[in-house]
Symmetry: C2
Subunit: 779 residues, 2 copies
């Protein structure tokens, strides 16, 4: 269905194309071709409507809660993309008539969605269609759409209906009051709506402009205002060979806009929106698009990656990942995070998970540290919610929510999930209650950012507080086991969510231990370096007995050790559970098929993992575990892992690089890269997999280029796939931008300053100025 | 599009058929073929989904308010009708492939919806389809659906998905908490939902049963529970010639159910619903349908009407009217009313208007008085809301809301309507504030019922209180005009809603006057007949100065009189307003087209009427106006009337009968009959026109048969259309069921008792026992 060839030679590895329309799998292109600019995300539903299509427009950080029984989520704003076309009185649809030369393409370079084809109506008239769409990276509030239609054989009568439709909801949950609809000058549509609970105002303004053969033209107009909906219906006649062009421009604002002074005053915001729309009108579609294109050119020059591979898909996949990380990330505003589906679908309700810190953040740490900082500041703001959660659970310090929306809120993980085949009820989701490792993951991310960026100011302002307060949580969370004379963490879910209520999940225990050690270390450092800051934090966080308690407890945490076979138990009971042959489930493209046969309660009693668990630990705390141990555990756990989480393949791939199985690493990279972009028709229905996209980048940079921050040092240990001739990418290290260039034979690193760069190549410390070259070791 | 020929010879004048499917006009058949039983109404959307389709399931009297900015409305319950069929992996749709022998039929006799056709898939395989559906009149909580599919040429692989979908909303406004979804025994689906504000619990239970060639069969099953949705996906192979049969049975209950003891306890109601479903399962689709058919046979024997006309459409239209009045009317529960669109669409939000009392009630008064009584008891319960409204508006007594939902609530008319072409804003709807005649209309209806039924008990329990308290309202509402030395009613809307803020709308003034006179009359009567009751009412309603005030004010009300031409001004300024040639608007099938060119403010300043206004007065208070006056006013107002209200044609038709223009009366009857059932593709999109259906019956009985209750006497003055050979109908009069039989030459009236029947034939008092025949006067 998808072609990975470039739409044009110059778009080779810059674009991918849907070559025939499949009404049963619309979710695929809607998600993987979605547009956005960090401020908002627009799902790429087709202009004409089809059964099974899903329209979504999300504005980051505008959460709302439908009722007290649901959790807060990103509301689906009014739709502006639907355009109904009646050709000679019949609704245009690709399901009728015949379609030739069909192409729907996402151009990653220009962040432009295009669609073109020749449609022969059921009456036999051929019409050429071309659609274009962008969500401006230059003006965060602007959506541009263009339609060109040319009847090829005979004239047609056209009725074109387009407007703003606020009947949209989140799978039925309506987040907006109906609001006010107004049409100015029979031309500018404006919808003003407010979310029901969080009281965020949305203002959407839209206009239509028509040209025939390039000349402005005003078709007959009928205006309609219905419930939650306003439409302009235009009627016109087109002669054969005439080209109709429609430009639709839309401005989107909310009362949360930090960049708009008028945002706090609804009347001013309305006026501002209308004015912005009129300015956009003056600039014109093509001018606006050009500014957008330039903004993206700048992004790609910043994130320039190159791969020369026998498989041209590889670079496309990496660019796809970077594209989506760019469109989903609110680089403009630290009050909001990254949703697990970005802004491309309703899945996971726009909530942020550890996906951000562990999977996506590394891309920004090394590619644009200021964005990484912004994302961590969102977690700093989240301390409020984390403290709330700790208190509600009877703990101290900051217990980060498994899922977060408003940073000041606590836990927002929904409680009920898919059907339990045994009971016929919905399965209870325990993650919000007991998936606790996220608190350590965030501390880890703070450390990671700090060590790679050297951003001391961040640590002083936010980082130390986060690390101390998470350590306070863990100290309060640990449970003393008198018999074993050790601290344990019982009744949790680790990264493997198919094991609930387990004791001593190795990942959780090790990461909590890491978090405590980090707090101890920074406490000691601050005592010397900045006692005033320490004093301030001590009094704010109540750290009186902190460091001592941390030390005592860290020393006595139970850290599961390898058994005779070198296997570390994922938790206390995993290795004693029955095994199940997963072959029938692993061979299926769809995830979660196991639950057609077993309930989660039953799976809980089997050695079946959703995703990398202990293996993730090996990656994060790499130098605490020997390569042989990693291999042995990989071999043990891989057959038991369904990879039902998109976080799984990339972790396995990096680990395979770590234990020097290049072939396996590359295979797993490809599987990770195919989660969204691959041929599976339904994998992305609920939205793209944000963490997996970060994982793709990590497979390349952490895996194949072997980049790793260990104990504050930059390690390099390249393991290029055999299929690759060359890999090149930028990497920020302590404020310096390095450019890495790896070929089959050698690696070259160049810095953009003349400062001395220290790094560790193949385990050996080195330093250089300007440029470094070395030959690759061959495995 | 619609054929009015019977589906079979025996269904001649009992059924109408859609002969080809038009995806651009789905609303038509969805509405006019909608099913129901007074308890619930099910819009007849097709099983397979199409863009532009609207699914509705309403349960009477379960109002909810989405937020404080909207008005309460009948919520759209979860959908059970959608069934997705994937044939060989492609979605079955009539928009693809070819369709032959297409028929969708509403069988009015059996209240059964059927649809059949042979579909040739895009792969060229022919499959015969047959769908059947009913909403049981025997078990008010039961919906039955049947699907038969036979591949004719080759075998097929079928994936059939069906369940309960609660993502439905009212044009985007969601009225339900998500609720609980459960599948019992991999077979029985149950959804429990509660409305967000009114806290009405809904329980829907559903099951599927499959047969192949009549033998039970269990296809491979996959269960899915998603957000607000639960589905069963069945997979099977069908060989050529094999017939698959699916029976889907659904039970619908709410906590408002008066007939279910368990209704007040949700856990018990859930169990009851499941049990009822299992009982239905035992009875089987065919058995359940047979009970339903019998229940309708009984209804039709009760409401037996016959017309022998040159136009077979006429009887069909009358039966269509009676069918819909039956499916929409909550005969089972006096706590709820009749919506202006019945239960067939979202239009008018399920609210009741004067439509019930003035247009629909007469049918029940004369065809099933107990139902008329139930409907008036709903208005009695509505006194609570009416008193609230009076108080809020600074008046005394009972000021009935223009639109009512919960009887205890006051006004629920929405405030904003369609777009104003001049300002581009939504037009303000003033009816809820100033369309006040409804209070007198209800008093009129009480009197009408009382006089026709002789139901003294009703009057003692409810009727007097309603008439007194509405008179109290009018007495407080009247405004003294010192200059003219008279009482006026200023700043109102009359029946013609294109004239807002008018003074002394003749209809309103005359009806208020009537209401006051009625109260005076009954006060005087009660003083003699039942002083105790009067005392009770006096103390309850505070009538101390009532009768005297009524008398004084009634005597001094300004009642507009005919001018030199015999024209009564609709209001103080109507006749001075500019005229507009309405020809271009009247020739359009669509209503409201005037507003494409003019705003309501502009129309307000023209002699343009939406509907019969003064002419309606001539009908209600018939014997106060001479026939010549009626004709003169008809001739004056008709060219100025757009008939944009469905209440208009029938009133004009009856009036034409009254002034003896048989041809015109018949023409107007046809136009009234065509509002829903006629060829206009979009007239019924928002639902059928309940009042118009009552109007159709009134055209026949009040117009053509010339039946009228005047001063408590039954008047008969037949004016049969030339096209009609015979008309026969039942009529209750003071507890006796009369059967009228009218031919071109004579009328025969037979009674089902031997009591003396008094009536007025052609203005002459008569009485008879058993049977009366008389020759018709020819006009």
């Amino acid at each position: 269905m998808l072609s990975y060839n470039g739409q044009t030679p110059e778009l080779e590895q810059w674009s991918f194309t849907e070559t025939s329309f499949n009404p049963l799998a619309q979710g695929k292109c809607e998600s993987v071709m979605s547009l956005g600019n960090g401020y908002m995300g627009l799902r790429s539903a087709t202009e004409e409507a089809y059964i099974g299509g899903t329209r979504n427009l999300f504005v980051n950080g505008t959460f709302n809660r439908f009722d007290e029984l649901e959790v807060t989520e990103l509301p689906n704003a009014a739709d502006v993309t639907q355009i109904e076309l009646l050709v000679d009185g019949r609704r245009f649809s690709l399901e009728t008539g015949d379609t030739a030369d069909y192409e729907r393409t996402l151009n990653l370079r220009d962040a432009e969605l295009t669609r073109s084809f020749v449609w022969r109506s059921p009456d036999g008239k051929r019409i050429r269609f071309e659609f274009r769409r962008f969500v401006s990276k230059d003006d965060l509030h602007l959506i541009g759409m263009k339609l060109r239609m040319t009847p090829l054989d005979e004239g047609i009568t056209l009725r074109l209906t387009s407007g703003i439709n606020a009947q949209a909801a989140n799978s039925g949950s309506q987040h907006f009051h109906e609001g006010e609809k107004r049409i100015f000058d029979k031309k500018y549509l404006q919808l003003v709506q407010t979310t029901t609970e969080s009281k965020v105002d949305f203002v959407l303004s839209a206009l239509h402009r028509f040209l025939i053969d390039g000349h402005p033209f005003e078709p007959a107009l009928q205006m309609e205002i219905e419930r939650r909906k306003m439409e302009m219906a235009y009627r016109m006649e087109l002669k054969a060979g005439q080209t109709l062009e429609l430009h639709k421009l839309v401005q989107v604002h909310t009362s949360r806009d930090a960049d708009v002074e008028a945002a706090g005053d609804l009347e001013k915001l309305r006026a501002h929106s209308l004015e912005a729309l009129k300015k956009a009108e003056s600039a014109g579609y093509d001018g606006l698009f050009e500014r957008h294109r330039q903004a993206w050119a700048e992004i790609w020059s910043r994130y320039r990656v190159e791969i020369e591979s026998a498989h041209r898909f590889d670079l496309l996949a990496l660019r796809f990942a970077i594209y989506h990380m760019t469109v989903m990330t609110p680089v403009h505003d630290r009050r909001m995070g990254i949703g697990a589906k970005g802004l491309s679908g309703e899945g996971y309700k726009g909530h942020s998970f550890w996906d951000t810190e562990i999977f996506i953040l590394p891309f920004f740490i090394y590619s644009e540290p200021s964005v990484a900082r912004t994302l961590l500041e969102y977690r700093y703001l989240g301390l409020e919610g984390a403290r709330k959660k700790a208190e509600e659970n009877g703990f101290r310090g900051a217990m980060y929510p498994w899922e977060v929306a408003w940073p000041s809120d606590g836990e927002v993980t929904p409680v009920w999930g898919a059907v339990d085949v045994v009971t016929g009820k919905q399965t209870k989701i325990w993650s919000g209650f007991i998936e606790q490792h996220i608190t350590a993951d965030i501390a880890y991310a703070v450390w990671h950012y700090y060590k790679a960026s050297g951003d001391q100011r961040f640590m002083d302002d936010y980082g130390y507080e986060m690390i101390f307060d998470t350590a306070v949580f863990w100290a309060s969370r640990l449970e003393w086991n008198e018999e074993a004379s050790r601290y344990e963490i019982n009744g949790v879910i680790g990264p493997d969510e198919y094991k609930e209520h387990v004791d001593n999940n190795a990942f959780t225990n090790y990461m909590a231990h890491f978090n405590l050690l980090l707090a101890i270390q920074y406490y000691d450092e601050l005592k010397d370096r900045d006692p005033q800051l320490l004093e301030r934090l001590e009094s704010k966080l109540g750290l009186e007995r902190g460091p001592q308690e941390w030390r005592e407890k860290a020393d006595a945490i139970y850290l599961p050790q390898p058994d005779g076979r070198g296997i570390i138990a994922q938790d206390d009971t995993y290795l004693q559970k029955q095994e199940l042959d997963l072959t029938p489930y692993k061979s299926q493209a769809k995830v979660g098929t196991l639950f057609q046969d077993y309930s989660l309660d039953q799976v809980n009693e089997m050695q079946v993992s959703k995703q990398a668990d202990i293996l993730m630990l090996f990656y994060l705390l790499e130098n605490r575990f020997a390569p042989e141990l990693k291999r042995a555990n990989y071999d043990y756990y891989e057959p038991k892992t369904l990879h039902d989480s998109s976080l799984s393949f990339s972790t396995h791939s990096i680990l395979a690089s770590d234990f020097d199985d290049k072939k396996l690493a590359y295979e797993l990279f490809r599987r990770a890269a195919e989660i969204d972009l691959g041929p599976h028709e339904h994998s992305s229905d609920a939205g793209i997999h944000a963490a997996s996209l970060g994982g793709i980048w990590q497979c390349v940079v952490m895996g194949f280029a072997g980049i790793r921050m260990l104990d504050g040092a930059l390690h390099v240990h390249p393991k290029m796939p055999d299929a690759w001739e060359r890999l090149s990418f930028p990497l920020f290290w302590k404020g310096t931008k390095l450019q890495f260039n790896v070929t089959k034979e050698r690696m070259e690193i160049s810095a953009d300053t003349q400062e001395e760069i220290e790094l560790v190549i193949y385990g050996k410390k080195m330093s250089f100025q300007g440029r470094l070259q070395f030959e690759l070791m061959h495995i």
